[in-house]
Amino acid sequence: MRDVAIIGVGMTKWGELWEKSLRSIFVETALLAFDDAGVDQIDSMYVGSMSSGIFVGQEHIASLLADYLGQVPVPSTRVESACTSGGLALRLGFMEVASGMSDVVLVSGVEKMTDCSGSEATYALGTAADQEYEGYHGITFPGLYALIARAHMEKYGTTREQMAMVAVKNHRNGAKNPLAQFQFEITVDSVLNSVMIADPLRILDCSPISDGAAAAIICPVEMARSMNKPIIKIIGTGHATDRIAISTRKDITWLEATYQAAKQAYAMADKKPEDINIFEVHDCFTIAEICVMEALGIVEKGKGGDAVEQGLTSLEGKIPVNPSGGLKSKGHPVGATGVAQVVEIVKQLRGEAGERQIKDARVAMAQNMGGSGGSTVVHIFERE
């Protein structure tokens, strides 16, 4: 296997982008990554998208986007694994470059979620669950995490306030990110008094509906060296699945796919949780960040809430989690999220993260999860 480096990243500001279409958001973003990498031609591309068919009534977007990016006839592959579509696009691109099949590959993700009604968007996100045995009974995406949250509170004594602190921390970080959808701070009180969505989760526990894309250019490390680029290496990758219906899992509070994917990535990179300087994780809901920290081995089982309360995961803390603002503040155009985590990590490892820069960061992890944890992709990166 060849070593693989990220030589360019691109992202535009996320939000409700009424003036932009799926294809325009994507092309603008991909071109930023081209410029950052100093390339205008690629050998192959991967696009993560969860549900362009429901959100904008457009399938076959791999070809559409290759066409509008001016790259026809390069092979283009759309990747779907619910909210981890973007992370999986990176993994597949990594495998293509590592194997020697291609040299310069675009890995990207895009979702245009505001061209349909709110209830259609709720429905589209809900299709990540088991449609016949969860969705059929009226459960929603926030509803599934609400079931996990209540079980976590019961089993470990995690508090409502601790969950709110995840949102407060991520908004504090996102306020320093010029590309975030919500660049403002919130308080524990405002979370606890926000509109109830699915008890005990309120609207400020939930990541928003967003439009956006993210892109990265990867190539063999040797090629990156000859281009005089800062070398950000992908040193570990992992991918795993879990039972799709959360009721059929042995422990509803435990994200087994995250644990398994992380185990693979740690082994490949020869790193332990304490070797990682920055974590970008999948906080689609506040409780998710707590459960993910436990499954990644950053904290003991049941201690995720305490770690947030003690400030361990803040920008200044011992284990910074989601310096970008996470899904909560940066936004969550589902298919793009996994690649946006990589954009943040590359900026942090290059020392280009501005006000939210974490000092002397060398090693970082991205954890990107599909639906209610039925799939997870984990990557570890290192600055040479």
Binding site: H137, G138, A151, E154, I246, S247, I252
Partner: protein
């Protein structure tokens, strides 16, 4: 949109709670499967899931998908049935304040949602409190 054939083929599970059980490791699956996820055995026996159990977690859905707009707010829970199988469904005919983890419930056959004027009526299992 639920078509009649898509609806009809789930009837054995949804109406009669038909499940299967691994002849080797004894684990129950609902809905029925073709291979045991624990031991990969394919010899599975027909069985049924239990009709009573207790709530292990629950929520109240305030922002529903479009098929459920006229029902919101409504409670959904995961119940551990007396045979150990865990199942997700609505918990109905109760005050939300009476819901708690450990509460005993039983399965009843109810309408789940309907698909408007020309659509079909969709039935299945829901939980009610079992005092």
């Amino acid at each position: 949109m639920t078509t009649p054939s898509r609806y009809w083929r789930e009837i054995p599970q949804r109406y009669r709670l038909e499940a299967n059980k691994c002849s080797k490791c004894g684990i129950k699956f609902f809905p029925p499967r073709l291979i045991c996820p624990e031991c990969k055995n394919r010899e599975l026996e027909k069985t049924k899931i239990a009709e009573t159990g207790k709530i292990i977690t629950y929520t109240v859905i305030r922002v529903p998908p479009h098929q459920f707009v006229d029902q919101a707010p409504y409670a959904v829970g995961i119940v551990e049935l007396d045979d150990g199988f865990k199942l997700t469904a609505q918990i109905v005919d109760c005050d939300f304040e009476d819901l708690k983890i450990g509460q005993k419930v039983r399965i009843e056959f109810r309408k789940i949602f309907d698909e408007g004027e020309s659509g079909i009526l969709c039935y299945g299992y829901k939980f009610v409190l079992d005092e």
